[in-house]
């Protein structure tokens, strides 16, 4: 019944993506072991994590093969996640600034 559902055999694509997910996971672990400066590590962590997420969403979750209508409906709302972080992080920073005088000796 191989031709019953007219979908391509994507095994090769899946295995390639799988391989790169392993490589990127190792990359993340490697960045941790390197003890890089915080700013550089943050950039590398974010970049590699987003690459992994992109690979999973695009190929494993087939987003790349869906209609643009669906792709945009799913991806554009995620921009709000940036707003979420921007909303709560300054609050945390302000608490830190108030606590800092009491952090002597830590």
């Amino acid at each position: 019944m191989a031709q019953a559902e007219h979908k391509h055999d994507l095994r090769r694509t899946y295995l390639t993506v799988w391989f790169w997910l392993f490589v990127l996971s190792f990359g993340l672990y490697f960045v941790d072991l390197m003890h890089l400066p915080t700013a550089l590590a943050t950039i590398l962590y974010t970049a590699i994590a987003l690459m992994k997420a992109g690979l999973i969403a695009a190929y494993f979750m087939h987003l790349r093969f869906e209609r643009l209508n669906l792709v945009y409906s799913i991806l554009f709302p995620l921009i709000l996640l940036i707003a979420l972080v921007a909303a709560v992080l300054p609050d945390g920073l302000s608490v830190l600034l108030h606590r800092q005088p009491f952090f002597e000796g830590r």
Binding site: L21, L70, G92
Partner: protein
């Protein structure tokens, strides 16, 4: 300029795609609903991670996760070894899930069941690792969501306990739900339910959920354990 070359009026465009009897997203309702659920779930985890970030900022010096989650291997402490293994297990399970979906495309019942069982097995292994990690922290180190030891590496940073149990607990529950969900789907594939229905799409939809759980782990692994 002839009128034929002009763009269709808005009314015509709306009628063509949204006027009923069409599928504007080009997917079945089941798949669309799963995507919308995943979108809302992404905000659940986004909120938890943003909250974790804000809490972590307030305490100045966060406990060293490399030390907390290190495992002794022949005398030397390897940082985050168990977490690295858990990551590889989850990435592997995602790979098996992709192969299961591929087998479902071919309507290959035997292989679909085989790969689904592998996904379930890897999911259970992941959960076992997490159970080990939790029991180690709770029973040996005395970490609670509301209390942590005052000695290093915890230094009494109670926010660590709260964030750790909330983030990994929420994710673990998603893995557990996924294992149950996939078990039901695997049983139905084995029984031939989808052969009779003439569509294996249920496997693909379950796959979306499982891949999303893997996707969330990417961010928890990166921003909670590594960072």
């Amino acid at each position: 300029m002839h009128s034929e070359t002009q763009a269709a009026p808005l009314e015509e465009v709306l009628k063509s795609d949204w006027g009923g009897g069409k599928s504007p997203f080009g997917v079945s309702w089941g798949k669309l609903m799963m995507w919308l659920f995943i979108l809302s779930d992404a905000f659940t985890f986004g909120g938890l991670l943003a909250g974790y970030g804000a809490l972590r900022v307030t305490v100045g010096k966060w406990p060293d996760t490399n030390e907390i989650f290190a495992i002794s291997l022949g005398g030397t402490k390897v940082p985050l070894l168990l977490i690295a293994i858990m990551t590889f297990i989850l990435v592997s399970s995602s790979g098996w899930m992709a192969l299961a979906v591929n087998a479902a495309y071919q309507r290959d019942r035997r292989n679909t069941v085989k790969y689904l069982l592998l996904v379930i097995l890897f999911g259970l292994t992941f959960l076992s690792c997490q159970a080990y990690e939790w029991s180690k922290l709770i029973f040996h180190e005395g970490v609670r969501p509301w209390r942590v030891p005052s000695h290093p590496p915890f230094n009494g940073v109670v926010q660590f306990g709260a964030c750790f149990f909330t983030l990994t607990g929420f994710h673990g529950l998603h893995v557990l739900s996924g294992v149950i969900y996939l078990s039901v789907i695997a049983a139905r594939v084995a029984k031939g339910v989808y052969d009779r229905r003439g569509s294996y799409e249920a496997v693909e939809i379950a796959g979306l959920y499982w891949h999303f759980v893997d996707l969330v782990w990417v961010f928890i692994f990166t921003f909670f354990y590594l960072f």
